[in-house]
């Protein structure tokens, strides 16, 4: 980036042209969260109890297992984008920012993978 002219400095501080994509995906995943978490809350309210066999039998069924897998994807995606915005506001140093984003990717992708694995294991009836 330029140091000599004011327009050069401005270019170095301006939009990187991917902000609107981030903003839109934040909204799309918010709609997914709204539908899926409300489904989850309604399901918890409609289950007769939260005992092991009751919950396991319910979550192993095709539609609840699919909805829970989608819930994992949209909530972790939305959280990944939202926490990025928080870190962009409060972490100033570009090296620290890179490290924080690398850690954020590891934690959110790892967490989502673990959640999906648990659902698949329950749904496909692996002995527990």
């Amino acid at each position: 980036m330029g140091n000599g002219t004011s327009i050069g400095r401005v270019r170095g501080l301006g939009s990187s042209h991917s902000g609107s994509h981030h903003w839109l995906i934040q909204r799309f995943t918010a709609i997914g969260n709204l539908l899926l978490v409300l489904w989850f809350i309604a399901s918890v309210m409609l289950l007769p109890n939260m005992h092991y066999l009751t919950v396991r039998e319910w979550l192993a069924r095709p539609v609840p297992a699919t909805a829970m897998a989608l819930l994992i994807v949209t909530t972790f995606w939305h959280a990944r984008l939202g926490m990025q915005v928080m870190f962009e506001d409060y972490v100033y140093d570009s090296g620290s920012k890179f490290a924080v984003f690398a850690l954020l990717n590891l934690v959110t992708f790892g967490g989502a993978a673990f959640g999906l694995f648990c659902i698949i294991r329950l749904a496909l009836g692996a002995p527990a």
């Binding site: 709204l34 978490v37 092991y52 994992i72 926490m83």
Partner: protein, 129 residues
């Protein structure tokens, strides 16, 4: 990035006179990041305990039904309902509506109240059924 350190800073929290929109906006960020950390962690623990079998699910239930577990679960549910209410407000603001001073302040006050009422209704249903 030497020049990046000399960027002008916008006035921060201590400069502004508090108003309902500011309060609701901060609450939206706090509840969102709280859900991202605590909400998703508890969700994964619950799924992992369920996949792990009856013994691990019993361990989860023991902690979740203790007083501190109930505090965390009620906190997470409040964070969700509050974030949902202020998130729906954001959808309205996104289409360019609700920026008039009166209606903006009104909905900024109503969304946290809606979050508390939905949380109370949810737990009243679960505990009193």
């Amino acid at each position: 990035m030497a020049e990046a350190k000399n960027r002008p800073l916008s006035p921060h929290l201590q400069i502004w006179r508090w108003g309902p929109a500011m309060f609701t906006s901060i609450l939206h960020r706090v509840t969102g990041n709280g859900l991202a950390v605590a909400g998703l962690a508890v969700l994964l623990w619950w799924l992992g305990a369920l996949a792990g079998g009856e013994a691990s699910y019993a361990t989860f239930t023991k902690h979740a039904s203790a007083w501190y577990g109930m505090v965390v679960l009620i906190g997470i549910s409040w964070a969700f309902f509050n974030h949902m209410a202020s998130g729906l407000r954001h959808f309205v603001l996104d289409v360019g509506a609700g920026f008039e001073l009166g209606s903006n302040a009104l909905w900024s006050v109503l969304t946290p109240i809606a979050g508390i009422l939905l949380t109370a209704a949810f737990w009243a249903y679960l505990l009193l059924r």
